[in-house]
Symmetry: C2
Subunit: 237 residues, 2 copies
DNA sequence: ATAGACAAAAATCTCGAGAAAAAGTATTGA
DNA sequence: TCAATACTTTTTCTCGAGATTTTTGTCTAT
């Protein structure tokens, strides 16, 4: 009678888009994160509706969805813009991410069962393979690596029972993805990210909460440092 | 040339609505929080567009905005529903709120200047007055009290420089407002909320971070306990 | 009586055009 | 030369109607 059994967790990439608006939304989000539409750019519905091959109202809805992710800002009667970026903003994103993600990791370590451990190991393996192929010579796209990196971080906190923390973490991850692209653009994997991930997995499986959160914090904060070292004009508007 | 000077902080109640869609959004949000549209209810565009006197597309946009606040969930090709409520959800909301709000309060206490102290005292005064009038015999609506209570909690963490924490906290506050209504419905101010607020203000002004966060945590968690004591049928779907 | 399938009804999703607002351009006067 | 005003163009916002999809209702066969 009451079919609220499986409420759609959130608007995450679960299945394929069931509506044109959602399809446009995903494509737009990708293009924004990729930097095709640059921070601060105006997003004119009249132009974009042709580019994405949907009606004006539909594209409007897609833009509204992006506001939810804070990748787009809507200004009263003056249309939409790509959310601006700044170093302050990224520092904020990073610190907030640390706050949420360490809390989630703590609970995940505390509550995770065998299946969780297995999924962590699996995700780490996939990520490692992507790194191998990436260094090997373009046998694997950075696209693929990003996807697996995201999956790894997601699985790590998957045993945290708080939907809200996971929801917010998800938003922040997408945000920081924009900045991380900038960083990777210059220095194609500068730090020994692999070792950091390995250390996190080890500590997590050993149920060493303090150690795991410490490493995770360093891991996340290091990306901030990397971006801080970028030439300023990249993070201008 | 680049007029990004004042990016619209977020979609909070700052000015009056500049667009029909936003007007409908606010009215709808109010009605959902008030419980006029109950958790789990289907929100049929065809019906609601008459009720709120806007076109179908416009109402659609309003609903999309509510998805951002997680007060409404959109299901693929099957329309919109009022976000369901549950005790587990409220527990999650509360704990996440504690995590964010205590962190924000710490920073606020650390960084707040004289102006911040003044605004805290002012907000507390307004809230106290509302409580007086409320107990006095309906000289002040619970509407008013809710508004000032929200303002108080907002001002308390206003000196926290993290926009993201404040943004998330705002979402969670609106969420918990739905539950708090249920609680207040039965027990018209059961606990000595005033004393708790007073204690928070004292500790904050004394820059006693540990004490302030401790009290704030208790304060927030107590609402959870109150809701837990409610008859189950109120939190059914 | 229950289950399945087919048909009718309702609701959602989508589109393009018209009204309102903002931005841009040119003209005029000091 | 500059400022202010009026006009033009662009863009956003809004609405109602049509196309798809989901849901409801009915009928038949096992």
């Amino acid at each position: 009678m009451n079919e609220l059994a499986n409420p759609p967790e959130s608007v995450i990439e679960d299945e394929q888009p069931k509506t044109l608006a959602e399809a446009a939304y995903r494509q737009l989000r990708r293009d924004i994160i990729e930097g095709l539409h640059r921070p601060g750019d105006k997003l004119r519905v009249e132009h974009l509706k042709d580019q994405y091959e949907v009606g004006a109202g539909t594209l409007r809805e897609a833009l509204q969805l992006l506001v939810t992710d804070a990748l787009v800002v809507a200004q009263g009667q003056r249309g939409f813009r790509v959310a601006p970026i700044s170093l302050d903003d990224f520092e904020d994103i990073t610190r907030t991410r640390v706050l949420l993600e360490t809390s989630a990791l703590q609970q995940s370590i505390e509550l995770g069962d065998d299946a969780w451990e297995a999924s962590v190991v699996a995700a780490f393996h996939l990520l490692s393979r992507a790194e191998d192929k990436l260094g090997d010579g373009g046998k694997c796209s950075r696209e693929e690596w990003e996807q697996r990196n995201r999956a790894f971080h997601e699985v790590l906190i998957a045993a945290c029972p708080s939907r809200w923390i996971r929801h917010f973490q998800n938003i922040l991850y997408h945000q920081s993805e924009r900045y991380r692209r900038l960083s990777l653009f210059r220095q194609p994997i500068p730090r020994d990210v692999h070792a950091e991930h390995q250390a996190i997995v080890d500590a997590a499986l050993a149920r060493n909460t303090a150690e795991a959160t410490r490493i995770l914090t360093d891991h996340i904060m290091r990306t901030l440092e990397a971006v801080k070292r970028l030439p300023e004009e990249l993070i201008s508007r």
